[in-house]
Amino acid sequence: MPPVIAIEQLTKSYASGVAALQPIDLTIERGEIFALLGPNGAGKTTLINIICGIVTPSSGRVLAAGHDILRDYRAARSLIGLVPQELTTEAYETVWATVAFSRGLFGRAPNPEYVERLLHDLSLTDKRNSRIMTLSGGMKRRVMIAKALSHEPEILFLDEPTAGVDVELRRDMWNLVRGLRERGVTIILTTHYIEEAEEMADRVGVIHKGNLILVEEKSALMRKFGQKELMLHLEKPLERLPPELAAWRLELRSKGYELGLALDTASGLRIPALLKQLSELSIEIKDLQTHQSSLEDIFVQLVRERA
């Protein structure tokens, strides 16, 4: 099946000379949740804005479900919904009016039943006649999502969807995104919350200084770059590692109070042997814990390497 988004050699240079995007190639498969990670100013929003038609590319080509976003913009844009980073809505409009406006703007005939259901699913039914200026930040974020979904898009871009949103609403948003995916919507999100990408994404792309430095299945990425470590907290500090432990590649830290061991499959299986040997050497253990690299650790490591 052809990708739902195909980006070929896409670049963007602004009149100021700033190269926001180096040549980028990327394909996004139908029905997946793709997380685009990157530090501030990396080019995430520029990339999204080009695909959605807000920014003009300098060169390259983007196809949305096979439709060129420039030459066949009507067909391409009618399939795309965008939730921007900023909460930009007209303060005096009602929730219903702004959602109905978005649906019409995207060329869809009025469908009060659909809008009603959409507002219901976003817990906005009782706010349908409220002016947007009277809503909380979280409610406004839901209105932005309702606007983006009003024309029943197949591809949804979420630019920092949970920025400034409380923990409960963030979890609710994640459920909503999963629900949309179940309906067959392809979701591309940018986020600063690595936890968000870790929680939801099927694939992850890391963009840095306009370059797409990595695109990987999330689970493969965790396997490839992730590390697991065993940390042993000692009752009494060690001045140096006893020669009997040399074969273990242990690292002495925290002024001798901590022993660290990078775990791979082989060393992981031999932990009981290590504990037994430490006991024989009268090295008492106060506590032990393991630490698995998070996506955040991997992201920071990748960006630091490219800095």
Binding site: V55, R74, L79, S102, G104, E154, R183
Partner: protein
């Protein structure tokens, strides 16, 4: 608590919803949105101009007009009606259209217009159409108000409607371009306040340029407002300062130039897209 969107229908498989050459729902959505904004500020949109027009009649029509003989055989109170309507039409078309497109730029909602499957021509039709509708309604309200103060007989009613329509569209288009160009509120007000209003006052809204000394009369002919006000006055009384053909030609010329300019703006994305 958000539901997991299970109540919504499943999406199709890449079936573009817009094969049509014209996004009528999109145009209607913007048009309706702009008209709704005017309805939210009905007092500002309609009542204020009516009061202002009434005051013009009190000051110019009654106080000054009572001491003036007729102009070109038309009672002074009636003579100023076309000028007053044109003055309102110029300023309201400009402000409605410029604000209509400037405001989304200012608050950031322009992203939605730019990302929608709607052509530049459709965007212009919607915004300019809404602004022109509002100013035409206002022009008709002023005409109705004026008829309460002075007896009016319109010699060329069809031409009057056509002139009203063309002027509203031309100035709305001009306003739309101003709204695209403006990068702040000050710039938005600059042309209407410093150029259009003075030119309108000097363009014979309250007098006939035939009343001016010859040098000033010649100088006035470089003011495009003279042609528009004169043309509109001809529709009412069958008399004008300049030939009606020149007025129509100027109006069409300006409209054509503005259409070319808007075409260039959209082709280049000037102040709209980076």
């Amino acid at each position: 608590m958000l539901r997991s969107a299970t109540g919504l229908p499943s999406v199709g498989r890449s079936t573009p919803r817009l094969h049509l050459a014209f996004n009528r729902h999109g145009v209607w959505a913007i048009y309706k949105h702009e008209i709704a904004r005017a309805m939210r500020t009905l007092v500002q949109t309609l009542v204020t101009p009516v009061i202002t027009t009434s005051l013009y009649f009190v000051v110019f029509g009654s106080a000054i007009g009572a001491r003036m003989s007729s102009v070109d055989g038309v009672a002074y109170g009636a003579f100023i009606v076309p000028g007053l309507i044109m003055l309102a039409l110029f300023t309201e078309s400009l402000s409605n259209a410029s604000f209509g497109i400037f405001f989304p730029k200012f608050i950031g909602t322009i992203y939605e217009i730019l990302s929608a499957p709607i052509s530049y021509l459709e965007i212009v039709i919607a915004y300019v159409g809404a602004a022109a509708t509002k100013s035409i309604v206002l022009g008709l309200v002023i005409l109705a108000t004026a008829s309460l103060f002075v007896p009016l007989h319109i010699v060329h009613p069809l031409w009057m409607i056509l002139f009203l329509l063309m002027t509203a569209i031309t100035f709305s288009l001009f306003g739309f371009i101003l709204g695209l160009w403006a990068q702040g509120w000050e710039q938005l007000q600059l042309i209407p306040m410093l150029v259009v209003t003075p030119l309108t006052f000097l363009g014979g809204a309250f007098y006939s340029i035939s009343m001016l000394p010859p040098a000033w009369r010649t100088f006035s002919l470089f003011n495009p407002m003279v042609y528009l006000i004169s043309g509109f006055r001809w529709c009412f009384f069958g008399k004008s300062d300049v030939r009606i053909v020149l007025s129509v030609a100027l109006l069409l010329g300006v409209l054509g130039a503005l259409l070319l300019l808007i075409g260039w703006i959209f082709r280049t994305g000037y102040r709209l897209k980076n």
